[in-house]
């Protein structure tokens, strides 16, 4: 009979606590009636229904496709020219240079490649050098640097980090800048000439400032010695990296671009994520609105061939490219967006059909009891 007096209300806490004698003085051990403790926190309980999932797929499809098209068109409008000057082929002008390479040759090997642009490059043109099969992201390579030294720390200048081994010291003098990254600084010189239809070679002005990140140039890399502009004195007692031809304080004549804050050096020091990469080398500024920066026609690329890549089957490229709001030429993103958008849309349709055919299976009533 007691069974019938079982009452959920009593358990719900409508009882006035313990009913034993003296319970008024003793604190009841009854748990607090808070939403948190009783697990009754108000909550939003979304579930995957046709009403939310299907529109989501359609909407995503409808968003992705236009974005994709936009990206693809933008990417296609970017003009890009790429030339490999490694000199693998016998026919290549740089073949000789690539064959007879030595770090110590005093006479730099030069070669020139002719190429022509079919279309004029409007607006600013960016000149990149590209390396392939170059493992700038190898762990031992990546960590082989001393950020303190590069940041102008005078202690680190003479005491480079151990990470720089084996490019830490040479001839018992600390190397500045130390490490494998600095040591392998890209040192080809690229020059561009426009060949007039009448045959005259016009050098194209290449701007070498403004190619590094602002933060790198102004925060991460600093010359030691503060405002002292006599870099030669500051770097006294240090040794140049073994592969370098000249010390770090002779990288450029402009004091704003010399030493550790040399932009070519900074760009190199920002190691690439993948073994094939390109790095900004020079900028070709647009002259005026009337003439294209690089008109269509023939060009010559003059290379001072210093950088050996043949031993590891590397490739060297020179790339000329314009840019857009989305950066350089990269059709992948646009295509990916169009594909994903279409698949989404298609999936939406498939799901819609499935929903219509089988969708009421989870509708209530048929829960067995």
């Amino acid at each position: 009979m007691m069974a019938s007096s079982y009452n959920a209300k009593e358990e719900d806490g409508h009882h006035s606590g313990a009913s034993g004698p003296g319970s008024s003085t003793v604190k009841s051990r009854k748990p607090d009636n808070t939403a948190f403790k009783q697990q009754r926190l108000p909550a939003w309980q979304p579930i995957l229904t046709a009403g939310t999932v299907l529109p989501a797929f359609f909407v995503i499809g409808l968003i992705f496709i236009p974005i994709g098209i936009g990206l693809y068109v933008t990417s296609n409008n970017i003009k890009e020219f790429e030339i490999d000057y490694t000199g693998i082929d016998m026919s290549s002008p740089c073949f000789n240079c690539s064959q007879s390479f030595s770090w110590n040759s005093s006479v730099p090997c030069k070669c020139s490649l002719a190429f022509s642009l079919d279309q004029p490059f409007e607006s600013n043109v960016f000149m990149y050098y590209g390396l392939s099969n170059f493992y700038q992201n190898h762990r031992r390579y990546v960590k082989s640097r001393d950020d303190s030294q590069l940041n102008g720390d005078s202690f680190s200048l003479t005491n480079p980090s151990k990470e720089c081994e084996p490019y830490r010291t040479s001839e018992n003098k600390p190397i500045a800048p130390c490490g494998a990254i600095a040591n392998s600084l890209f040192n080809d010189t690229l020059e561009l000439f426009y060949i007039d239809p009448n045959g005259t070679r016009t050098p194209i002005p290449l701007i070498k400032k403004g190619i590094a990140w602002w933060t790198d140039k102004h925060v991460k890399f600093r010359n030691p010695g503060g405002n002292n502009s006599n870099l030669t004195a500051i770097f006294q007692g240090t040794s140049k990296p073994v592969n370098w031809r000249k010390p770090v304080y002779e990288l450029d004549t402009d004091p704003e671009n010399n030493g550790f804050i040399n932009e070519d050096f900074i760009v190199w020091m920002r190691t690439a994520a993948l073994p094939t990469f390109r790095k900004l080398y020079r900028i070709i500024q647009k002259k005026n609105n009337m003439t294209p920066t690089l008109p269509r026609g023939n060009y010559t690329l003059e290379v001072t061939y210093n950088y050996p890549v043949r031993s590891f089957e590397g490739r060297k490229r020179m790339i000329l490219s314009t840019i857009s709001w989305m950066g350089g030429k990269n059709p992948f993103l646009g295509i990916a967006y169009i594909t994903v958008g279409s698949v989404c849309f298609f999936l939406g349709v498939v799901l819609l059909i499935i929903h219509h055919k089988y969708g009421n299976r989870n509708n209530s009533s048929d829960i067995p009891n």
Binding site: S5, E11, F64, G130, Y135, I283, M326, G327, N369
Partner: protein
């Protein structure tokens, strides 16, 4: 009372030397000490101050995970290998170790405290001829100790003498076997003669030879050699530790077994560290993961060797190989480097988080108001905080009966007197009303001796009594006379009864309230106050109850000098012995009896007859002869009894309710719906157990069959089991089928579930169970039993309870739960995967050894269906998500390995690696695992079927794990190659570099974080404010931390630690970065959404359906739970109200007692001659602080 057994912990087998025979000499410490028996100290703690640190550390390091992280740490200290900073491992490891150590420390401290408390209890010990107070732990084997009333028995004692006549002592064994009634022990006469003479006791030099310590509670074999004479000792002369002395002023005993050797401790079983099945699976998976890790690392190491051979050797111009110029050596080192990097597949924070989640979910149990019992002010308690999710996977419940299903309170509920049934209440229209607490009770104030707690609702019975109907008076007179209850007058003049069984107490109490107050008994008389008049009956004979007779009778001479035989017993038995004249009454009463039985009440039929004086004298002689017969005494006595118990006049029937706890039938119904099998393991006899089975819905009329296994030989039992099995499933083969599940050499035979074509149940009695549990038959038993929906095992000893549980645990791949309230359930509670203690009925021992405790059986459904289900769901979700996020995180490194010369270069910033698990993703998943619920508690109750995914292990198993692995593989591919393809060869919108390592790392890690957070959002069913806060908070924290760490300030202060200066600023302002992230996250999550949606559409689970329904019914509250309707059952099952044990009924009744000359008999009960004196308070025994709740009749 409880703390005594808190120490159940260890089996402290200090001296495991095979003791063959115990030889003790009383009062001879030197001799006894030379035998090196354990003294009475118990020790359950594990550590002391000095051993704590090394032992605990050692134990912790034995845990695979911890050892693994130590190993990683060592690896990281090798510079050639170290690919991550050392602190990424040390900080979490130290955190984990210290948290665990702190927890273990406090646990052990508590054990120390309880040990100390028990060991420091004091007892009077006879030392050098004097009684001295001595601590329990200093008591030695062979010591003679004095116990006083209400004291705990210190150790296993040989009873020497006592204050009571016949050297009797009364003990309560509730802590030992769960039975609340008093038991009698009797000392040998030779030792009893010593009395309390200290000199004699000190001179006592008996030698005891006895069996070595064992765990049989009801057996003892030994001899006492005293003055050259050998006396045999049996269980009757032994007081066991764990009992409490009652109603006995003092007694002396000699310690036979101390401390760890006591039967109590021997019976306690070993404490095993319980682990959940998820734990086991997790350990297995961790092993698999480590294997996988090794595989990945091997692949990468081989890659590295190849790379070093082909590319690296030629790349030396720019990257000179250091000392490891040998590609093979380089590959070897790379292997370990990758072990470090990829170790995040098994992050140490997994273990910490799992513990925290369990702790949190345990708190919910403690906090649940719906599991709080206001009457006793007891909230539910999760005593073990590591087993929560297992609560959601229970398949078998093993339940005690007394005190768990029932309240162990018997109430006189109905009666049928002379063909009229009383006890029901009708309203004005004649409709039967349900009796609730509000129903008006009968006012017994006219009877000054009535017990105010007695409740009866039918007013007509009182009226009838007051009218003086002779049959009704005879009915209650019988109840007041025919029993073996002992009265007891409390200090405050309250009358209390000490009944051997609560049933009898209830009947005598009913008679008392209806005006037939049983006041006193002497061996030869019974004093009763009949409707206010003192009457003394001369007690001529008591024809005691036993299991065969199933009845008891008394023969009394009333004040008028007439002889009457009053008999009560099982209806079938009584009916056979009735006078033909009452056939009509029999029919009517039969109907009533069926009705009562149908309601699950325990019934008795009552009859009487008048006896001719001359016949009685003659019978008495024959009785004397029979009772002194040397052989076949029992049979002879039975024959004599049989002779006089015939031609009885039927008086009526009583119905006693073995009160179920509130809500038990509903709970059992719910649990059955959740596909949980319930086995009742009870010490009760078969009939009682069966009856309770019916009344609490375990056994149902609509069941196809209830098998009863009650045989006396192994062959018969086997046959019965086999027949039952064949009946349930005729196709069932002779040999059980096993699922081989051998993991790492741990081969266990797991029995397959077998189908049945209907619901069946089985009842098995104690004898049969003993056979069934033998090695050669246990499989047969298990097979048959597991096919039944319900199994009831009767007359089960505590150890058998554990055996049954172990059997199921061993051969079935299921999660078991044992629930009980008494000390007899402790072994079972410890053996099961989960032990639940019912607090507040019979002491605290069960609670102390349990994992969860609460006050009422009905809370079990909330514990399982709500808390268990949620805990399981949460834990599984947590694990799934956790593995997902870490796999995805880690696999990206693997793909990157192919593009960085297998050099163990990380994809992400080191700081991101350090903080990913600890900060960026820790809280949202914690919120998920603490707050998530698929549907709320009401729906959980509405659809108990929601519970079954847990039983089938559906939310987290190897298959699910594999799926997660594949999903992670896919996501990591997306997360690596989409950024790769997007960034490759592209530049910023100002022409500058963006394909650099740092920007790429930022891109990859941000995409990853967004992806895992979207996945989290998809997994979250229950979005509380906290979830929102943690999820959005984590994202914000990520960006805040990232921008901070990549800021100028951080770089200038810690130049070498934060080389990523400016990366965030320079790349996150690029639209194509964001477009890439958007693309990769969408690609990771859309398939998941589509897949889930598709499955909901095509194969909706019960869970999906209920969630759907809950959503539709959001406005309307879920329907109220259906009322349980008690089915009226036509079949007559007579449960008759007798306890199974022969208690001190023996003493009142035995021939020895009756025939003993009067003068040699000291007053067992006060001899009261005049009715007048009987009203004055009795003073012969002062009982200090009799715990009222202990007496079953006084409730």
């Amino acid at each position: 009372m409880g703390s005594l057994l808190s120490s159940f912990g260890l089996n402290c087998g200090k001296e495991e030397v095979n003791e063959e025979e115990r030889h003790i000499r009383a009062n001879d410490r030197a001799f006894n000490l030379s035998r090196h028996y354990a003294n009475n100290a118990i020790k359950t703690s594990k550590y002391n101050i000095f051993t704590f640190l090394p032992l605990n550390l050692f134990e912790q390091l034995q845990r695979l995970a911890n050892a693994y992280f130590i190993f990683l740490l060592i690896l990281q200290l090798i510079p050639q290998i170290s690919s991550l900073s050392w602190f990424t491992t040390v900080v979490p490891l130290v955190l984990v170790l210290s948290i665990t150590a702190a927890k273990d420390g406090t646990d052990d401290y508590n054990r120390h405290k309880s040990d100390k408390q028990v060991n420091n209890r004091e007892v009077e010990v006879l030392i050098d001829g004097q009684l001295k107070k001595e601590k329990w732990m200093n008591v030695q084997v062979g010591d003679i100790i004095k116990l006083e009333t209400d004291e705990f028995v210190t150790a296993d004692l040989l009873l020497l003498s006592s204050s009571e006549p016949l050297n009797l002592v009364y003990v309560e064994t509730a802590e030992l076997d769960g039975e609340t009634n008093l038991k009698v022990k009797q000392a040998l006469t030779v030792t009893g003669e010593i009395g309390d003479s200290i000199e004699n006791l000190a001179a006592f030099d008996g030698e005891v030879h006895c069996e070595p310590p064992n765990n049989h509670l009801d057996k003892f074999k030994g001899t006492l050699t005293l003055n050259g004479e050998v006396h045999s000792l049996d269980n009757d002369k032994i007081l066991l530790r764990g009992c409490t002395l009652r109603n006995t002023e003092w007694c002396f005993g000699m310690v036979i077994f101390g401390g760890p050797d006591t039967k109590l401790m021997q019976n306690s079983g070993k404490t095993k560290f319980k682990r959940t099945s998820v734990d086991h699976l997790m350990n297995l998976l961790v092993l698999c993961i480590i294997g996988m890790l090794a595989l990945l690392c091997t692949v990468l190491a081989i890659g590295n060797t190849i790379w070093e051979t082909t590319e690296g050797s030629s790349f030396t111009v720019f990257l000179p190989s250091t000392d490891s110029s040998d590609p093979v050596l380089s590959g070897f080192l790379t292997f370990w480097s990758y072990v470090i990097i990829l170790n995040t597949v098994v992050p140490i924070s997994l273990y910490v988080s799992v513990e925290m989640i369990r702790l949190g979910n345990s708190f919910y149990i403690n906090w649940d108001r719906k599991m709080y019992y206001p009457r006793k002010d007891t909230p539910a308690q999760a005593r073990t905080t590591t087993l929560n999710e297992e609560l959601g996977q229970i398949k078998y419940i093993f339940s005690d009966k007394t005190g768990t299903l029932t309240q162990n309170i018997m109430t006189f509920n109905r009666c049928s007197i002379n063909g009229k049934s009383y006890g029901e209440v009708f309203d004005f229209s004649g409709q039967r009303m349900e009796i609730t607490e509000k129903t008006e009770k009968v006012d017994f104030s006219w009877n000054p001796l009535a017990d105010p707690k007695f409740a009866f609702h039918d007013h007509s019975l009182v009226e009838t009594v007051k009218l003086g109907t002779p049959e009704v008076h005879a009915f209650f007179r019988l109840l007041a006379l025919c029993h073996t209850v002992m009265p007891e007058e409390k200090k405050d003049g309250q009358l209390a009864y000490q009944a051997q069984s609560p049933d009898e107490g209830a009947l005598v109490l009913a008679a008392r309230n209806f005006g037939f107050v049983f006041r006193e008994r002497t061996p030869e008389s019974i004093s009763v106050v009949e409707m206010g008049e003192h009457t003394t009956y001369e007690l001529l004979a008591v024809l005691d109850f036993n299991n065969v007779r199933k009845r008891m009778s008394v023969i009394v001479r009333n004040p008028e000098g007439k002889l009457y035989l009053y008999c009560k017993g099982a209806d079938t038995i009584i009916y056979e012995r009735l006078h033909p004249s009452c056939t009509k009454l029999m029919e009517v009463t039969s109907e009533h009896l069926s009705e009562y039985a149908g309601e699950g009440l325990r019934t008795l039929a009552l009859a009487y007859k008048e006896i001719d004086e001359g016949y009685f004298e003659e019978w008495r002689h024959r009785h004397y002869v029979a009772s002194t017969a040397m052989d076949n005494r029992e049979e002879q006595l039975d024959a004599v009894y049989e002779e006089i118990e015939k031609d009885l006049q039927l008086l009526g029937a009583t119905a006693v309710e073995d009160k179920l706890q509130d809500g038990v039938p509903q709970t059992i119904e719910q649990l059955a719906k959740a596909d949980i099998k319930i086995w009742v393991l009870t010490g009760d006899k078969q009939e009682t157990a069966e009856n309770i089975g019916y009344s609490c819905n375990l056994l149902r009329e609509e069941m196809a069959e209830v098998f009863i296994v009650a045989s006396n030989s192994p062959e018969e039992v086997r046959e019965e089991l086999r027949n039952a099995r064949k009946k349930m499933n005729p196709r069932s083969g002779d040999e059980p089928t096993f699922i081989k599940s051998g993991i790492l050499g741990k081969r266990s035979q797991v029995m397959q579930e077998e189908e049945t074509d209907g619901e069946y149940a089985m009842v098995i009695n104690g004898h049969s169970l003993a056979f069934a549990l033998q090695k050669d038959m246990e499989m047969e038993f298990l097979r048959t039993a597991c096919m039944c929906q319900t199994v009831i095992c009767c007359r089960v000893t505590p150890l058998q309870k554990a055996q049954v549980v172990e059997l199921v645990k061993k051969h079935k791949k299921v999660v078991t739960l044992a629930i009980g309230d008494g000390a007899n359930d402790v072994s079972m509670i410890k053996a099961a995967h989960i032990g639940v203690g019912i607090s507040g009925q019979e002491g605290m021992q069960a609670v102390l050894s349990s994992d969860f405790s609460f006050a009422q059986f009905r809370y079990l459904q909330r514990l399982l269906l709500v808390h268990g289900r949620w805990s399981y769901l949460r834990m599984c979700k947590f694990l799934r998500y956790f593995f997902y996020k870490n796999f995805t995180f880690t696999f990206v490194h693997f793909w990157y390995g192919f593009f960085c010369g297998f050099s163990a270069q990380t994809v992400y910033d080191q700081w991101f690696i350090t903080l990913y698990n600890l900060v960026y993703t820790a809280l949202p998943v914690l919120a998920l695992a603490l707050f998530d619920q698929d549907v709320n508690d009401r729906w959980s109750f509405q659809y108990p079927q929601l519970y079954s995914p847990g039983q089938l292990n559906m939310y987290f198993n190897k298959k699910v794990f594999l799926r997660i692995l594949l999903q992670s593989c896919y996501c990591s591919l997306i997360l690596f190659f989409i950024p790769y393809a997007c960034v490759h060869d592209t530049v910023r919108d100002d022409g500058k570099d963006i394909a650099d390592y740092q920007s790429f790392a930022l891109l990859a890690q941000t995409s990853l974080l967004i992806t895992v957070n979207i996945q989290m959002a998809l997994d979250t069913y229950y979005w509380t404010a906290v979830n929102h806060f943690f999820l959005w908070g984590s994202m914000s924290v990520y960006f805040a931390v990232t921008f901070t760490m990549y800021s100028n300030g951080m770089f200038l202060i810690f130049t070498s630690s934060f080389p990523f200066i400016g990366t965030a600023r320079n790349s996150l302002n690029q639209p194509n970065m964001w477009l890439t992230m958007f693309l990769s996250t969408m690609l990771c999550t859309l398939p998941v959404v589509a897949y889930r949606f598709l499955f909901i559409q095509l194969y909706p689970t019960i869970n999906d359906k209920v969630r759907h329904k809950a959503r539709q019914a959001k406005a309307a509250p879920p329907p109220t739970p259906r009322r349980f309707t008690r089915r009226r059952i036509s079949t007559r099952r007579s449960g008759y109200a007798f306890s199974h044990a022969r208690g001190y009924g023996d003493l009142v009744t035995s021939g020895r007692f009756l025939l003993r000359p009067k003068r040699t008999r000291p007053a067992l009960f006060p001899v009261v001659d005049s009715p007048v004196t009987s009203t004055t308070p009795q003073t012969y025994r002062t009982i200090t602080e009799e715990d009222e709740s202990r007496s079953p009749t006084s409730e």
